[in-house]
């Protein structure tokens, strides 16, 4: 069968996209997704006219470093009824739900056909977010506990519904959508590339760099721009600094939840050093305004590089002994070990990505499998752990911090930086090729981000699809909690630190 193979961060003409009937397309999708090295990076619908739709499936081929685009055109009358693929490939369940929510398409045989985020453009406006149909089990012995959307802390909103037998959690269902701001709609409808850059940085503020990079790669592919190796390297250094900062903050949060105050405070201040460096680089502690399509206003100058070496040395000197102490502490081990286990099998079935996949032994890392920006040629050490519990999520962060540190150092020492060189971005005047589809994949600290943009015959973006790693990974948190107590929820939640706004868009 016909499908297109492209590389991460490239565009193809929409006319070259082979279009199949749904049945042929579905057979091919199932055949590919049964291979271990394929996973679904994005799957969405595009409306061509009132009753005409295309389904576009973006698969990551980890073995050949390719992105595969499969498309199918389907015609009304609406509602269009199609056979659900979720029973065979559970990883597609949320994508199919999302399509059902936003388009007059019904996937028959879908085992869990519920709303995803009550988006403003949903087909069914009879229900609002407070009408979510939670899974219930009728029994006098059971009780349910509802938490949220507003939580006891400075945190984004989500609703958690626990079904419990005594102290045991039988089932947890997480309802999201509260943060829905219409980002995909805005990405398609904004006037220029600068507005889209600012928007991309706000998809998930704690992952500003990876989303802004994904948008920049899409914009560069659509406008046929090539960026220099130096800019690519600088983007990846920023990406690794974000990873260092957030992983450190997450370890601090884990320490808070097990009442280990030394760890909570010291890891917290260690993060400050890294984000203050980002501020010295671009003026913003989260790296907002650093990444722009085609160039940057903020070069990593010689002064900054020297300063970064000192910042990293100071960080490492303080991080290593404390992380070792935390690792060895019996009271910490006792609360982390064997809590919230997710198996490799579950991770594969749910299509987990990034850290949540690697901590179960499932080796998914876009930096390695679909190298982009500064990761072409060398990338930080690829780490997987077998156990899939809270301890693994702590340990993976610790190991990834060390790997990022040594990769940044290696780059700073070996890359021939040219300080006279300047690539000015021009986000306001970007001109896109007409009738194209561009795909980009980036590996943030949470995992794989996928942006897909489609342009019309005038070179205007008419569909923009964003997938944050949290879209796959929230399900892992639900599974983690089975047969634990509700009191184990906070530590499990922190150990994933998933994004609400990245999911809700």
């Amino acid at each position: 069968m016909n499908y297109l193979r492209i590389k991460n961060g490239s565009a193809i003409s929409l006319y070259k996209l082979p279009s199949h009937t749904y049945n042929d397309w579905a057979m091919e999708a199932l055949r590919l997704l049964k291979e271990e090295y394929f996973h679904c990076a994005s799957y969405f619908a595009v409306r061509s006219s009132a009753d005409d739709f295309s389904l576009i499936l973006v698969l990551a081929d980890d073995l050949n470093q390719d992105v595969i685009v499969l498309s199918s055109s389907i015609k009304g009358p609406t509602p269009i009824k199609l056979k659900s693929l979720t029973p065979q490939i559970p990883a597609l369940h949320l994508f199919e739900r999302e399509i059902m929510e936003e388009f007059p398409i019904v996937f028959e045989g879908h085992p869990w056909p519920k709303p995803v985020r009550f988006s403003f453009n949903r087909c069914n406006h009879n229900d609002s977010i407070i009408d979510y149909p939670f899974y219930t089990i009728e029994s006098e012995q059971l009780h349910s506990v509802g938490v949220g959307p507003v939580h006891a802390g400075i945190i984004e909103p989500g609703h958690f519904r626990f079904t419990c037998d005594g102290e045991n959690v039988l089932h947890l269902e997480i309802q999201l959508g509260w943060q829905h701001r219409g980002v995909e709609y805005l990405m398609a409808n904004k006037d220029n590339g600068l507005q889209r850059s600012i928007l991309a940085e706000s998809i998930a503020g704690d992952s500003a760099i990876e989303h802004a990079t994904a948008w920049a790669m899409v914009a560069e592919a659509l406008s046929e721009q090539k960026v220099s190796n130096q800019l690519a390297i600088e983007r990846s250094i920023a990406q690794e600094l974000e990873r260092l900062a957030i992983h450190t903050g997450d370890i601090a949060a884990l320490c808070t939840d097990v009442a280990y105050h030394l760890g909570a405070n010291v890891f917290g201040i260690l993060r400050t050093g890294i984000i203050n460096f980002l501020q010295a680089w671009c003026g913003n502690r989260l790296g907002k305004s650093l990444i722009r399509p085609g160039g940057t206003y903020f070069r990593l100058s010689k002064d900054l590089r020297e300063r970064l070496k000192l910042v990293l040395a100071d960080y490492e000197r303080r991080f290593i002994p404390l992380s070792h102490l935390t690792y060895k502490l019996p009271s910490v081990q006792n609360r982390f070990d064997n809590i919230g286990v997710v198996t490799t099998q579950q991770a594969r079935e749910l299509g987990l990505v990034g850290m949540a996949a690697r901590m179960t032994g499932l080796g998914r890392d876009i930096r390695k499998s679909h190298p982009y920006a500064g990761y072409i040629g060398s990338s930080p050490e690829f780490i997987t752990l077998p156990k899939g519990d809270v301890f693994a999520r702590f340990l993976l962060r610790r190991k990834e911090i060390k790997a990022s540190l040594s990769w940044i150092r290696h780059i700073l020492d070996t890359f021939p930086f040219d300080d006279s060189f300047m690539e000015q971005p021009s986000p306001q005047t970007l001109k896109f090729q007409s009738s194209q589809l561009a795909v980009s994949l980036t590996e943030g600290w949470r995992g794989e981000v996928c942006h897909v943009a489609l342009t019309d015959e005038n070179g205007k973006i008419f569909r923009y699809k964003i997938k944050d790693p949290s879209f796959h990974n929230w399900k892992a948190l639900e599974l983690s909690l089975r047969n634990l107590e509700i009191s184990d929820f906070p530590i499990n939640n922190k150990s994933y630190n998933l994004s609400y706004c990245g999911f809700d868009l």
Partner: protein, 249 residues
């Protein structure tokens, strides 16, 4: 035990002693300053991704500004971003910075409701509500309590329940899906109570302005006591703003 002591010693004192006098180094972008230089003002205004700049006279609305700095990069002779942290106010109109303006404090103590000063001066407990926030303003609000900034030293704290709070801090552009939860949280807070808007998204909608997924009528119905600009606001700005509001030196 010895290992713990060694770590404490190694990390030393990390807190910022005087948060009132602490500075944020450039290139952090704080208060913009607009000169009298003659430039193509229409072209300058057209750069702004959120429409924060208007002409005749050239005015920058910090309540709409994402502090991306693009205007200052294109017209450095006209706009510069200084590291002045005085960018917050209790009056929305004070966030408008006009050409040639020299005021330092935008905050007007005389306009603060008297009960805020008498009740919350030494203890201010706040409930945070993220209503479509992108987790950056939330992140910086959390950072206010870390060992560096240690906002708790002033008796200002974030609490778990609105019942324990003296007001709400809103982040995010207020989504339709969160509008009701925000209203309920605010109603559950005992009066007298304050409303603080933290970050550009909360103040004006920011880059999300015009999105069909927002519902901002809460702000039409309730007066706001404090506006803290930024994308996200820096912890030092947040803390100084709260100190000014509660009347602390």
């Amino acid at each position: 035990m010895l290992k713990e002591l060694k770590i404490l010693l190694q990390n030393g004192k990390q807190f910022i002693p005087n948060l009132r006098k602490a500075e944020i180094p450039l290139p952090w972008r704080g208060r913009p300053s607009i000169s009298g230089a003659r430039v193509d003002e229409e072209a300058l205004a057209a750069i702004c991704p959120t429409g924060a700049i208007t002409v005749k006279p050239l005015t920058l609305d910090m309540g709409r500004c994402t502090f991306c700095g693009e205007c200052a990069l294109a017209f450095p002779e006209k706009i510069t971003f200084t590291n002045n942290i005085n960018i917050y106010s209790n009056k929305r109109e004070n966030l408008l910075i006009r050409e040639g303006e020299q005021r330092n404090n935008l905050f007007e103590p005389a306009a603060v409701r008297p009960e805020i000063r008498t009740l919350f001066k030494k203890s201010l407990k706040l409930r945070q509500v993220s209503a479509g926030g992108d987790n950056s303003a939330e992140w910086e609000l959390n950072a206010c309590g870390n060992a560096n900034f240690d906002m708790h030293r002033y008796g200002i704290e974030f609490v778990a329940s609105p019942r324990h709070a003296d007001g709400v801090v809103i982040t995010g552009p207020i989504t339709s899906n969160m509008a009701e939860a925000l209203r309920i949280t605010f109603e559950a807070t005992p009066a007298p109570k304050i409303i603080v808007l933290a970050g550009v998204d909360a103040i004006s909608g920011g880059i999300f302005t015009g999105s069909p997924a927002l519902h901002r009528s809460f702000l039409d119905e309730h007066p706001v006591d404090l506006y803290i600009p930024g994308n996200p606001p820096h912890p030092l700005v947040i803390i100084n703003a709260l100190l000014d509001l509660s009347g602390r030196k």
